[in-house]
Symmetry: C2
Subunit: 260 residues, 2 copies
């Protein structure tokens, strides 16, 4: 590995930027600057990292070795074209954006996609986060793998299509799962009960699939086709046609996907 | 507590019966007999507990102090009427069946509802399982609370309506959550990736809500109203209209439930 990674500029100051930049700094990389369109966000993260910051894309430091883009997908293309430091390595962190977003803009580029849900206010151990790596050629992939392996023990090289599939899967098993938690929270709090009464069930549901495939772990009225309970639940959701509809659709899905 | 609980008959040999009967035995209760319509299931559980068993409802032992019904909801009413030992305490374990199912059949009755997902092939620590208790009068509730507290540190008296709400919430945060895991598993395995790559994300999604409310923990394209990613995901699901529909519906739900 002839490549020396002395300094990094972080483009973005959201959830992913906040977590990955700290993981990089902890592993010995030097974060020299944070850019965010929102000055307050740039400043907050820069203070954590003891780095400089800017909200002016024209003022981004042009001497870094690595530019790491952790932006909303629709802001990414514009920022990549704007920054344009051809000697440096350019890397984005987005699940759904193919590596080709860098094509014809800069010669060395790739993706470091951390497959995790991050919130600014919640600490996350980065060491175990799967980091999915893609470079524009084998040399760049090697460099990116060596960076990834400094922040996590759980790194894989994958292509853009696989990364898109992972991102779609993540929407189901993280974002959609959390929305189911949210519905459950509303139901128990309306019944005058504390949400944490559901915590052991939520934990065990996640724990179970360390040992069983989800198809084997499926329980509940839908997989048993227990229409009496299903009808009762739909009646309980009478005031909320949206939840009734979702209850029906997911119950059908469970029944259709059951292991026969 | 003047009530002595010397012997228990378990009516049922499914997931709940298997786990609660072992928890009771471990806490010093004597399980004398297992009934199941399926002889093999009755025998398997009876062997674990070193109890007798029967698949003939007429042969259920009539000298027990407690009859614990862990049956499918639609089999419960029939079994309760059939067993009919008026001196004993009769208890079911179902989330969705009101306590009134015992009314006019027997004088002392109630519910012990363990709020957990059980599979026969997976060990579950019972000690932390919330056990929701309801008795037909304060004395019975006291007796049931004292039984519940022997098998779990996490017991609450609640009424039938609250129990029904908990069961509905459990369908969302356990059964529906598991079906989202199942979809995710199918997506990653079609992309040639191992399911366990999603495990840290799944674990963190469950862990996060120990610290944040689900509404605060929500991330992903739907809550950001990132229509570009949503459209891309719907396109990727093109071969599966059922999943496309569910993706759309849950995304709308997330957007509608977001904290403003």
């Amino acid at each position: 590995m002839g490549f020396q990674m002395n300094s990094i500029v972080i483009i973005g100051a959201g959830n992913v930027a906040t977590h990955i930049s700290q993981a990089l700094q902890k592993s010995g990389f030097k974060i020299i600057q944070i850019y965010s369109r929102t000055q307050a966000a740039a400043k907050t993260l820069a203070n954590i990292l003891n780095a400089s910051y800017t909200s002016d894309i024209e003022s981004i430091c042009r001497t870094a070795d690595l530019y790491l883009y952790a932006l909303k997908d629709n802001a990414l293309e514009f920022a990549i074209k704007k920054v344009s430091v051809p000697e440096a390595l350019h890397v984005h962190t987005a699940g759904s954006v193919p590596i080709s977003v860098f094509e014809h803009v800069t010669p060395r580029y790739g993706v470091l996609y951390p497959l995790q849900t991050f919130s600014k206010t919640k600490h996350t151990e980065f060491n175990n986060v799967p980091v999915l790596v893609e470079g524009n050629n084998p040399e760049t992939t090697d460099v990116l793998m060596s960076i990834a392996q400094k922040i996590s023990t759980n790194c894989y090289p994958i292509d853009s299509e696989q990364r898109a599939a992972l991102h779609l899967a993540a929407v189901f098993c993280c974002n959609f799962v959390n929305s189911m938690y949210n519905v459950a929270e509303k139901i128990v709090s309306e019944a005058g009960l504390p949400f944490n009464i559901l915590q052991p069930l939520i934990d065990e549901t996640a724990e179970k699939i360390h040992h069983l495939l989800p198809a084997q772990a499926q329980t509940g009225p839908a997989v048993r086709y227990d229409t009496k309970i299903i009808e009762k639940h739909l009646e309980m959701l009478n005031g909320n046609p949206q939840l009734q509809h979702i209850y029906r659709e997911i119950s059908s899905l469970i029944f259709d996907m059951r292991t026969k």
